[in-house]
Symmetry: C2
Subunit: 283 residues, 2 copies
């Protein structure tokens, strides 16, 4: 029975996890936070965590530790964590790439690590934007280091929380996860950023605005995402699969660029059908 | 004073134009429709037009003719129109590309042609989806063949209607229009279609759905657009500027693919700033 939860990184994801735990699970134990003092103060004032503590205190007193800082910071924390962990501490994370994170936690002797990736977010960041329903209906990837971890009571309890959050849990190997999201998430980001860069270079904002409609708006939404601490880390920890995804996309654009009528018609038709299929099954 | 308006093509755009004319301008004259019998019947039943007529009857009796069918059909109609037009008939269109359309109307002797392009639309088509506020806040391009056309009373009256529709009127030369929308609209479509095609080929819908979040959804919205009678015609009548826009985009993706940290950071930062600027000034 998990009685004390610690959340390292009380930004949008960590704070939403805490709120979901209170409101959707009905968790009545203590929720500790680990972060910079000014963030902890805000999170306590907002009623998201009960108290701010050091990582060492969290690792040695909590039953469950949720790592929801940047990927770089998660990897750093995993490097320090095991010696200070209370034996049997269950640790999970919310990093957007999994292979390097799983590798870093590979040698744990005291703590048990389960990799996680909630595919959720919104345009605003920080604990002020926390939302107990943020994860609802979204994919939540889980990477187990060992099948035997699933039957550890605290791991099973975490798994049950995710059901209460209304997420679509997907068990996956780390490498497969990283190749999959390179196409469904990272490539989409690169496509949007490159589109914005093209229009910026060729037209500039004033000219582009003259010809901008809702279709373009939808294509440029991702380009507004932050780089530091987010895409910087994703690109650094998933460079191989992202490069392959970009190569596929560039070939597809080159094919469309050269294609004659019938081939273009086929591409539009099958791409349209694919996009509608994805929409209809509720992404 | 325009007393009789004819609308050739009573789909989403033509029907919305008719509704906007009634509700936002308060037009009390007759509105005729030109289309296939089954479409005319629906448009009369929906109270969008008063009566269906032939193109010949419309051209010889109306004061103002709005061409809102496909680009191919608009070009065809412009080829037949002038000899049957009543002298001084003002004709405009809603085609998404302008150079070939303007060229086709270049030799008019009886009718006066003003090219138009409302950048508006929605996912559903047909007169059932008509909306008097469809054009509100959207760009509406106008291409004049001659400065002198602006002072023709029926042309000035049409121009005043557009103000009542709440559009952002932009006067532009046809070639400049086509180069601009190749980047802001046609390239965005190709980027979305190619992204859907890449995911379809590499993952298929079932796998892609596992890793699909709201960012991808936003990037695949345009890919759902129809090809026949819409993108087929746009690609056929603006192939040069679209090919150039694709070349720019492919180079930008290749640059991102090869770039090291600092250059990627710069691209993300300036692309993000560009996208936010466009959003903030309300596209």
């Amino acid at each position: 029975m998990i009685e004390t939860v610690a959340i390292a990184g009380v930004g949008l994801i960590g704070s939403s996890f805490a709120l979901a735990l209170r409101r959707r699970v009905g968790f009545r134990g203590r929720i500790l936070g680990v972060s910079r003092p000014e963030y902890l103060e805000k999170a306590v004032a907002a009623g998201i965590i009960d108290e701010g503590v050091s990582l060492e205190e969290a690792a040695s007193t909590a039953d469950f530790l949720y790592l929801s800082s940047s990927i770089t910071r998660i990897i750093e924390t995993l490097g320090d964590l095991d010696p200070m962990a209370r034996p049997g501490l269950v640790v999970t994370d919310a990093g957007s790439t999994k292979e390097q994170i799983m590798a870093k936690a590979g040698g744990f002797e005291r703590a048990v690590f389960v990799g996680g990736h909630p595919m959720a977010g919104k345009e605003s960041r920080g604990c002020e934007s926390a939302d107990p329903d943020l994860f609802e209906g979204r994919p939540y990837f889980l990477c187990y280091q060992s099948e035997s971890h699933k039957s550890i009571p605290a791991v099973a309890e975490f798994r049950a929380w995710l059901d209460a959050f209304g997420v679509r849990v997907q068990e996956i190997r780390a490498e497969e996860h990283d190749r999959l999201v390179a196409l469904t998430s990272h490539l989409a980001q690169m496509a949007s950023t490159a589109l914005a860069a093209t229009l910026d270079r060729r037209l500039g904002a004033e000219q582009a605005r003259r010809g901008a409609g809702p279709g373009l708006e939808s294509m440029l939404r991702l380009a507004q995402s932050g780089y530091e601490g987010l895409w910087e880390d994703i690109l650094a920890t998933n460079s191989g699969p992202i490069a392959s995804a970009l190569d596929f996309y560039i070939s597809e654009l080159q094919r469309l660029r050269r294609a004659a009528g019938d081939e273009v018609a086929d591409t539009f038709t099958s791409a349209g059908e694919f996009a509608r299929q994805l929409r209809d099954t509720g992404i």
